[in-house]
């Protein structure tokens, strides 16, 4: 019977397609939160599956001793969220990693002080909290360029050193710790905040990275992942409530203590960082060569890198 035969062929093809779905593990930079809402929505809405990918989103543990980069290079994960700065250093150190998608186009790095401050020089001599997990390169660049001596205090959990008065100021991302601070102690006066991008410390941050080796063998799968992720972000932008529902569900599943107001504000702030200043649109444009060169120059000047990785080696 022709109909039965057609159905059988279709079922067989489906099975083959499923069997052929490429497995891929993606690790965002941190534990579940709205910063990664676009990827969650791509998974939730089946955008990855539609591209023929079987994606697992694996979050790093807050107390993990193994960095994301190590896990990427070691092959535990195939795609990872990383900042440009750390990625250039890794590349310079010989880690063959590539940027396959630039998510944020601007820097959301701020410093919140307990006393009024207006410029980086005002941070002289302060005890300032920063992440134990990284981003210390920026602190060194800041100190070198402004001839500052700062007592850096590493922390794991965002804001409590500041709230309990154990530090004079704290570094924070405007889409994360800054919002947590607002929700802990109320509105923070503008004159206690330094936005580093206002002083020329502009560096595109979050992007997606893969190893060169993986990319050479799975270019098609990476492209599909990027395409589906962009679709996921677009969906998150236009379905805020649904995206927040998913974020909160994942937070609960992973025992992340947070609240919806925090995640909602994080999503809004993070989406605004995705706007390309050149076009005014969210287009996930690759990092420009000049922006790349600025970061490389700063890293060379502060001695973080010795070899200069070329733009085309890192940015695809």
């Amino acid at each position: 019977m022709p109909v039965k035969r057609l159905v059988s062929i279709f079922l067989a093809l489906s099975l083959v397609t499923n069997a052929m779905a490429q497995k891929l593990t993606f690790m965002p930079q941190w534990t579940p939160q709205a910063q990664f809402a676009g990827f969650y929505m791509a998974q939730e809405m089946g955008f990855y599956a539609q591209e023929g990918l079987d994606v697992e989103i694996l979050h790093i543990k807050a107390n993990s001793t193994e960095s994301i980069l190590t896990q990427l290079v070691g092959g535990k994960v195939q795609i990872a969220g990383q900042q440009l700065l750390q990625s250039i250093i890794a590349r310079s150190d010989g880690q063959k990693i590539l940027n396959v998608m630039q998510i944020t186009q601007k820097s959301g790095l701020w410093c919140v002080s307990r006393t009024p401050v207006s410029k980086p020089e005002d941070l002289q001599g302060m005890k300032i909290g920063r992440w134990k997990a990284g981003y210390s390169e920026f602190c060194d660049i800041l100190e070198t360029y402004n001839n500052l001596r700062i007592d850096w205090v590493p922390f794991i959990n965002g804001i409590n050193l500041y709230v309990y008065g154990a530090v004079d100021a704290t570094l924070c991302y405007n889409f994360s710790e800054y919002i947590a601070l607002q929700l802990a102690i109320g509105d923070i006066p503008d004159n206690q905040v330094i936005k580093f991008s206002d002083f020329g410390y502009e560096c595109p941050e979050d992007g997606l990275y893969v190893t060169e080796e993986y990319y050479s063998r799975n270019k098609d799968a990476v492209d599909k992942f990027v395409r589906a992720s962009k679709k996921g972000w677009e969906y998150a932008r236009t379905h805020r409530k649904q995206a927040l529902d998913v974020v909160m569900r994942l937070c609960n599943e992973n025992h992340i203590v947070t609240n919806r107001a925090m995640q909602g504000r994080m999503l809004d702030s993070y989406i605004s960082l995705q706007t390309n200043p050149a076009t005014g649109k969210i287009d996930y444009a690759p990092v420009t060569e000049s922006a790349y060169n600025n970061v490389v120059r700063a890293l060379l000047e502060t001695g973080y890198i010795v070899n200069r990785p070329e733009y085309k080696e890192v940015i695809r």
Binding site: K61, N63, S64, T65, K127, K132, V153, P154, F155, I156, N157, I159, N160, L161, V163, Y164, G165, A166, V167, Q182, L183, A184, I185, G186, C251, H255, I256, V257, T258, N259, R260, A261, M262, G264, R265
Partner: protein, 629 residues
């Protein structure tokens, strides 16, 4: 037609209305006072409750703080023996129920070659077994944990933010950290006690003053401490919950800001239409306790009281209405009987018996007044009857006088071949003051028309005298001027009342047509449709001895003479328009050809009546017409 309510109903309703207003005012004032008093009391009680609760929690926290401080001292004294330190943490957990875990965490490399050293004992919530381990390892880098880092950096003990203990019994926990310092003041270790906050939740639940009250304890970063594992506010802060309410809710914003400022206070705030208040104050460790109460629940007791008051008021009002109605009805019952008596009296039964009143009040006064009225009415009616009898007699006598007066005037008018004469007098009252007369002596025909000043009996008597005198003097055969003078003197004599009479006296020689006449202040006569030219003499009876002037003329055959009194020309319609000289002349010109003078007299009278349109006649009307053939 709408039936009028009875006096007693209306008065009772008015009393009910006034009383209701007073009751409402009283209830309103009482309610507002009670509201204010109870609200004030509730705010004070909540403040006291807050203080007592803070003291209670602080006492319990202090027990733990003391235990940790003692442990820190012992640990410091025995830090050379690692095994002792392990035992010490175990003993602390064993001996202190509230402490679920205890750590003595040393700074990095305090012990040579050992980056981490932190003996830690904790109680398994399910089995109650106490487990002791070394806490630090690369996966748990405790130097960067709040409980270690904050007291290390600040050098002061502190209570951590609440956290969820995932390892043990999934309890909501907080950790008290106490820094151990060396002789130089450098922090060498942190001694901690993990405490479940469930007992705090129990305390807070037990002090909840009202069912709808919220008693909350929040940490320095606004996290709720008194929540259980299933609560939806895990992870929320006071500011995050604020984010879910309306942006414009300034009340709540300022409440949270005041609360989190770490000062003690009380604030009122509204959520939608609900007004609430919250008292809040800080604990010594920086946590903030708040108790909120909804005024609706606080004031629920007064609302119940209000309902009872209104119920009592309604019953009171009903009783007042009924008693008012009954009393007024009883009081006004005699009035109903009075109205019946008044109706009988109105029908003419003046001797109707009045109701008996035993009381000595206004009703009795009314009854007396009614009694007086009854007597007065009886007297009045008696007098009226007498007066009416007298008036009837007078009226009858006047009729007689009128008939006598009319009888004095000639009724028979001679129908002769050389003249036709007729006259009529229509008095305005029963007896009038007008007169007319005529007398034929040989070929001479004397005629006169007069008008006595005033009306009624005196005027008629004056008229009778004048007419009798005229008759007498005509018979004496004297000239008309002398006749008028003599007549004037006669009526002047004894004329104390000042009456007078106007007269026109004429005499026509029927053979020759000679016409002699004397006018004593009377209206000019009309001859052939024109007023006769008369000399102005005065009326008779005013000045004795006055010389009257006589005039002469001719009345040719066919001449038509009209004599009249001012009752004709001054006859008025209702709009005060008078008949007038012009209408008289017009009538004279158009009616000279009538067959008889009787017909002419009647016709002129009809013309006057037609003109006055039935308006009441206010003066005597006398008409005399003469036709010379």
């Amino acid at each position: 037609m709408k039936r009028q309510k009875s006096f007693s109903t209306r008065l009772s309703l008015n009393v009910l209305f006034v009383t209701s207003v007073l009751f409402l005012l009283a209830i309103g004032v009482a309610s507002v006072s009670a509201h204010l008093l109870i609200a004030d009391e509730a705010e004070n009680s909540a403040g006291n409750l807050l203080d007592a609760t803070i003291a209670k929690i602080e006492k319990s926290l202090m027990e733990i703080e003391t235990a940790v401080q003692v442990t820190a001292w012992i640990a410091d004294e025995n830090k050379d023996s690692k095994a002792y330190l392990y035992e010490l943490t175990k003993a602390v957990v064993e001996k202190t129920d509230k402490i679920q875990g205890c750590a003595i965490a040393f700074a990095p490399y305090y012990f040579e070659g050992e980056y981490y050293f932190s003996p830690y004992s904790s109680r398994n919530q399910q089995t109650g077994e106490i487990q002791t381990i070394q806490l630090g390892n690369p996966s748990y880098d405790y130097f960067y944990m709040d409980w270690f880092q904050i007291p290390s950096l600040s050098g002061n003990p502190c209570w951590s933010e609440p956290y969820f203990d995932e390892g043990g019994g999934r309890f909501y926990m907080t950790t008290y950290s106490y820094p151990v310092k060396d002789s130089e003041g450098k922090v060498i270790a942190i001694v901690t006690a993990d405490v479940s906050v469930e007992w705090i939740a129990d305390i807070l639940e037990s002090v909840r003053p009202y069912t709808s009250s919220h008693v909350s304890l929040v940490s320095r970063s606004g996290a709720y401490i008194n929540i259980d594992s299933g609560s939806s506010i895990i992870g929320e802060t006071v500011y995050s919950t604020l984010a879910y309410v309306d942006d414009d809710d300034d009340d709540i914003d300022s409440l949270v800001m005041s609360m989190m400022s770490g000062t003690k206070g009380m604030r009122k705030y509204s959520r939608g239409s609900n007004l609430s208040f919250a008292v809040f104050g800080p604990l010594a460790n920086g946590w903030i306790l708040s108790i909120s109460c909804d005024y609706r629940e606080v004031l629920a007791r007064t609302s119940k009281m209000q309902v009872i008051l209104i119920f009592i008021a309604l019953i009171g009002l009903l009783l007042i209405f009924i008693s008012c109605y009954v009393i007024i009805r009883k009081l006004t019952n005699p009035l109903v009987k009075f109205s019946e008596s008044a109706r009988q009296i109105a029908k003419g039964e003046f001797n109707t018996e009045l109701p008996e009143i035993k009381s000595e009040d206004e009703i009795k006064q009314l009854r007396d007044a009614f009694d007086d009225m009854q007597h007065s009415l009886n007297e009045y009616i008696e007098n009226l009857k007498k007066t009416m009898a007298t008036n009837e007699r007078y009226s009858s006598e006047l009729n007689v006088a009128s008939r006598i007066q009319m009888a004095m005037l000639p009724k028979n008018f001679p129908q002769q071949e050389n003249f036709d004469l007729c006259a009529l007098l229509k008095p305005a009252k029963e007896v009038g003051g007008d007169l007319y007369d005529f007398l034929q002596k040989g070929d001479k025909l004397y005629f006169t028309v007069g008008d006595v000043s005033g009306k009624g009996v005196p005027a008629s008597m004056f008229m009778a005298v004048t007419r009798a005198s005229f008759h007498f003097l005509v018979n004496m055969g004297i000239e008309l001027d002398e006749l008028a003078g003599t007549l004037n003197n006669a009526v002047c004599e004894g004329n104390d009342t000042g009456m007078f009479v106007t007269m026109f006296i004429g005499c026509v020689d029927l053979k020759t047509g000679e016409f002699r006449y004397c006018n004593a202040g009377h209206n000019p006569v009309v001859v052939n449709g024109e007023f006769l030219d008369v000399k102005p003499n005065i009326a008779l009876g005013l000045f004795p001895g006055f010389k009257f002037r006589m005039q002469t003329g001719r009345l040719e055959p066919g001449a038509h003479v009209i004599l009249y009194t001012d009752g004709v020309t001054e006859a008025e319609r209702s709009d005060k328009q008078q008949f007038g000289d012009a209408a008289l002349l017009e009538w004279a010109r158009s009616h000279s050809g009538l067959a008889t003078q009787k017909e002419a007299c009647c016709n002129l009278l009809d013309a006057v009546h037609t003109f006055t349109e039935g308006n009441e006649q206010n003066d005597d009307i006398t008409i005399m017409t003469l036709k010379i053939k």
